[in-house]
Amino acid sequence: MNEPFWQTRPDAPFATLINVARTYCHPELDEDAYESLRRLAQRDDDDEMTTFKQELRDGLVRPEKVPQAELSRAVQYDDGSADKFLRRLWHDLYPDEPVPGQA
């Protein structure tokens, strides 16, 4: 069985987005983890979160580039689609910034 790319190639496009989302948003975790991510997202000097925010922005602007099946499998969101999940994530983490890609 092939391992998911976000585990074997953590520098690949969208790997940081998936890894961070899995670490803090997976349903096996409680709300404390999601709250941790909210606080972490406010750090301007954090390399991982900088990459995460850039990949989240890219995913919202160009949703066709997002590895949706991998994201769905890794994060297990119940928003119905990757796009809805990413929009919720941006809204929750960066509430003062408009959602990228939204007309």
Partner: protein
């Protein structure tokens, strides 16, 4: 679908369903007609699952393998259990004697400990330590979460750790304070043997990747990334035989859509008079645990000075996958 239970008993969940029915009589608070109908639909699927056929191979209890190395260059499960240091996993220190006493005193109120009563002292020590931590692996991913509970969790978000029958049917989480909704991915799995479960946990804690995560310098806002370890590396080549699980049936070919429909169905189930507008969630037994990986997720310790394991469960973490 066939699921092997270590004890070989009641694999279609009949006894558990009867227990649940007793816990939720028709006239109990919060159990209205809609809930009853929904419950019977879930039960109907469980009843339609095929029992293990006569002669089907059931693995021997893992306790019988405790003194056998899982590979030529590996320590025996007992050696791993005996040298397990709870503090390394952010858990309270427990002796064999303290563990036996803890289990004897609390198993009536914490039924996931019932199976531990007859276990080897080395196994009891790990289970007692885990139960005193903040993680929920023992309640949801060991044999207390039998096949019926796994089906109910994945289709109806009924939390095995929720001991109040009405709250369980309303998908209220059993571990979080404040009647929060229970959550679950599209698959629910468990290790159906307490000795195998304890060994998986203890050997996992020794693993370099888990050690690295547990020893990560503490940051109150940051969590270690989840760690994946092949089941066979933790339990041996036959370790997959102690695993069972169920996964949602896709909706229009999509598991993401299936999770979304399940959420709508559960919301309707807990709202009197509301029709879900989606079909009843259904599940099928997981096959192919030979390639499964054990997942370790992490959380802050109670003292907020380090990390402990939030949960441990088995997953078929596939790469490329069609939704």
């Amino acid at each position: 679908m066939v699921v092997h239970r270590v004890d070989g008993a009641d694999v279609d969940g009949t006894a558990e369903r009867q227990t649940d029915d007793k816990r939720a009589p028709a006239d109990s608070p919060g159990t209205d007609d809609a809930l009853s109908r929904a419950d019977s639909r879930i039960g109907a699927q469980a009843a339609n699952d095929k029992p293990v056929p006569a002669g089907a191979e059931v693995p021997q209890p893992y306790a019988k393998q405790l003194d056998i190395p899982i590979a030529d260059d590996q320590p025996t499960p007992r050696e791993v259990l005996d040298r397990f240091t709870p503090a390394e996993a952010g858990l309270p220190e427990v002796t064999n004697e303290q563990a036996a006493e803890y289990i004897a005193q609390t198993a009536d109120d914490r039924p996931w400990l019932a199976a531990a009563k007859d276990c080897d002292p080395a196994v009891q020590r790990i289970l007692a330590a885990m139960d005193q931590g903040q993680g929920h692996a023992l309640e949801r991913h060991e044999g207390f979460a039998d096949d019926d509970k796994l089906r109910r969790r994945v289709t109806a978000l009924e939390d095995p750790a929720q001991l109040d029958a009405d709250k369980r049917m309303a998908a209220i989480d059993g571990c979080k304070p404040g009647d929060k909704n229970h959550r679950c991915g599209d698959t629910a799995t468990a290790i159906q043997d307490p000795a195998a479960f304890a060994t998986m946990f203890a050997r996992g804690v020794e693993h370099a990747k888990v050690q690295e995560a547990l020893r990560m310098p503490y940051d109150p806002d940051r969590l270690p990334q989840p760690v994946s370890i092949p089941v066979r590396d933790l339990l041996g080549a036959d370790g997959h035989r102690y695993c069972s699980g169920y996964t949602l049936e896709p909706v229009d070919g999509s598991l993401s859509k299936a999770r979304d429909h399940r959420a709508a169905w559960v919301e309707a189930r807990r709202t009197p008079g509301r029709e879900p507008g989606v079909s009843d969630p259904r599940c099928t037994a997981v096959d192919g645990f030979e390639a499964a990986q054990t997942q370790y997720f992490f959380r802050s310790t109670r003292e907020k000075d380090g990390y402990e394991i939030a949960t441990m469960y088995v997953e078929l973490l596939r790469g490329e996958e069609q939704e």
